[in-house]
Amino acid sequence: MNTILALLIIAPVVGFLINGLYGHKLSKTLAAIIGSSAILISFICTILLFKSVPENGVRIQFFNILKLEAFNLDAAFLIDHLSLMMMSIITGIGFLIHLYSAGYMQHDKGMAKFFAYLNLFIFSMILLVAGSSYTLMFFGWEGVGLCSYLLIGFWFTNGDYANAAKKAFVMNRIGDLGFLMGMFLFLQNFGSLDYSVLKAGHLQISTGMATAITLLLFVGAMGKSAQIPLYTWLPDAMAGPTPVSALIHAATMVTAGIYMIVRSNAIFALAPFTMHFVATIGLATALFAGTIALFQNDIKKVLAYSTVSQLGFMFLGLGVGAFTSGMFHLMTHAFFKALLFLGAGSVIHAMSGEQSIAKMGGLRKQIPLTFWTFTIGVFAIIGIPFTSGFVSKDEILNATYAFNPMYFYLAAFGAVLTIFYMLRLWYLTFFGNFRGGKEQMDHLHESPLNMTLPLMVLAVLSIVGGFIQLPELFHGHPYLIEYLKPVVSNMVAEHSGEGHETFEWALFGGTIVVLIFMFAWTFKLFGKKESVSEEYTGLAGVLEKKYYVDEIYSFLFVKPLEHISVLLSKVVDNKIVDGMVFLTGKFVTWSGTTLRYIQNGQTGFYFLMMSIAIVVMLAYNLLFKL
């Protein structure tokens, strides 16, 4: 088991080192093979681990990183059901995306570098989810942030991309600050950052302290998982290559916050206020991002806001206490959102890099494979019954209703928004007539097999992924809840009785009605659209401009900080602080100049000064000393 785990962790590192250090000497194909196979090894190892892991998990220690008097950090990994689930998503989807990248990036000269970064990312992610302490999680946490930075800024010669990368990193850092504080507070209270102290019922801590710790940790999650108010980096992160968006900014990294909260569920359970807060933030984010997505024209931006929105749903799930549901939605979302992104990547690939849906239309004929798989993704996310998205979202909505009906209605509205913007995207991209240029028209082509294969695999997963936990209504069995039971204790009241069943049926029926209505309505709006306006006015304009949040942030934080920096530098530091030093020097030379004049060369004056000195001296001594 130790060996398998070691192999699992080392393989991406080896891939990273080979591609990073010798990538310039390798051919592109070889680089792709090395990069992908490293992840394949990890994936296989993960699968192997599934078998051998005991129910309560196992802590595997390799070596001690740092041992100080009151601080201990082991390179130890906690392999339990939760981390295995995460690792399989990471390595599995990660492998598919590596495969996809081999095709997508084949025209880029930085192929080896790209795979090196991806491998490093997978390594960091494994560290994040498999580490046995918050410190190791933080290692991975920051590591994925770095990889995100590197990959967003992969095409660094474009200044905007580089800016987006920096923005992502800094925003993540703000979250990390909260996480760090939370860790410090945790360390103060429990004397260790190892998960071993997280056994439910063993936590001796006041509610206030638990609230403080969990709120701080949640700040970290906000940053990493792009929640209000720290979400603005994620849409900008679409500057990176599309596989990166699929892997990092949809399937894995952004879900780290969910994982962290689920991992800490024992302490979150002690802090009801935080739970409420998490739910509120999650709901707000889901609605907010959903509305913004309504009028975006960039295919990746739509998907990005959709991701933010879906992450909001996950947090809503966590906040209402349905930890497993959150994890479940995390998983299904990883499937269909990766699928959507890869599909979008395929579309972009076909469109020669064009990302605006205003320029697309009627693509279903030219790239059928992409169309069908993309369609499955769309159906999953809008919740066509029995797709994975339907099942997981349904579960969250259920739990929300039990928590607070008002939250439920809002969340349901959010789901409707999802349907609207996804269908809009779908129609505008694949239906109607082609609105792009002639050259693009001629160039349209289906992607190669190593790109479409991952699409197909993910499409299958998007459909069947939900079956592991079909609602009881449809005679499903909560496999996931049981599987995660040793780690996660949900806080949702067990549903039973007629009323509940009625509600579920009502929800199901409502979903179908809404879906049919929305299909029809959006088809009417977008199905045969000849041209799509680039500019919107009124409320739509505000939404298209993302509520001007970036501008507000710039006005509230970025610009003031820059102004303060300039002020401190130019005025305070140069004029006042250094001015004091300067004045001291000036004073010395000034007094030098002044004192020089008493040395005026006149002997008479000298005599006078000496005599006065004698008089003063005698007077002082005779009057005060005797």
């Binding site: 020089r596 004049y597 040395q599 005026n600 060369g601 006149q602 002997t603 008479g604 005599f607 005599s611």
Partner: protein, 103 residues
């Protein structure tokens, strides 16, 4: 009117002469007159020394005066030589003119 002379009177006299000497040093610009004022100071010291010496019946004070006179003579020789030298070069013995060295 006082019938007797105390040592105080000599001290008064000597110190007055001393202060007059200093006054001369302060208000005159002619180097020679200045030098004469300094001689006046020395003389006042001599007078005081002799007074103390006489009062205490100690010859040391008068011996000291003797040496002061010798030194004064030597000093005058050198001092006047310096003044003459300066006069040769500048045609002036005004100390106010000797102000090339300053600042």
């Amino acid at each position: 009117m006082l019938k007797e002379v105390f040592i105080d009177h000599y001290i008064y006299l000597a110190l007055t002469l001393f202060c007059i000497g200093i006054l001369g040093v302060l208000i005159r610009r002619n180097a020679i007159v200045l030098f004469m004022s300094i001689e006046l100071m020395l003389n006042s010291v001599n007078l005081l020394l002799v007074a103390f010496s006489s009062r205490m019946g100690d010859a040391a004070g008068q011996i000291f005066v003797f040496f002061i006179m010798t030194v004064a003579a030597a000093e005058v020789a050198v001092g006047l030589a310096i003044i003459v030298m300066l006069y040769r070069n500048t045609r002036s013995i005004d100390i106010g003119d000797a102000n090339k060295l300053k600042w």
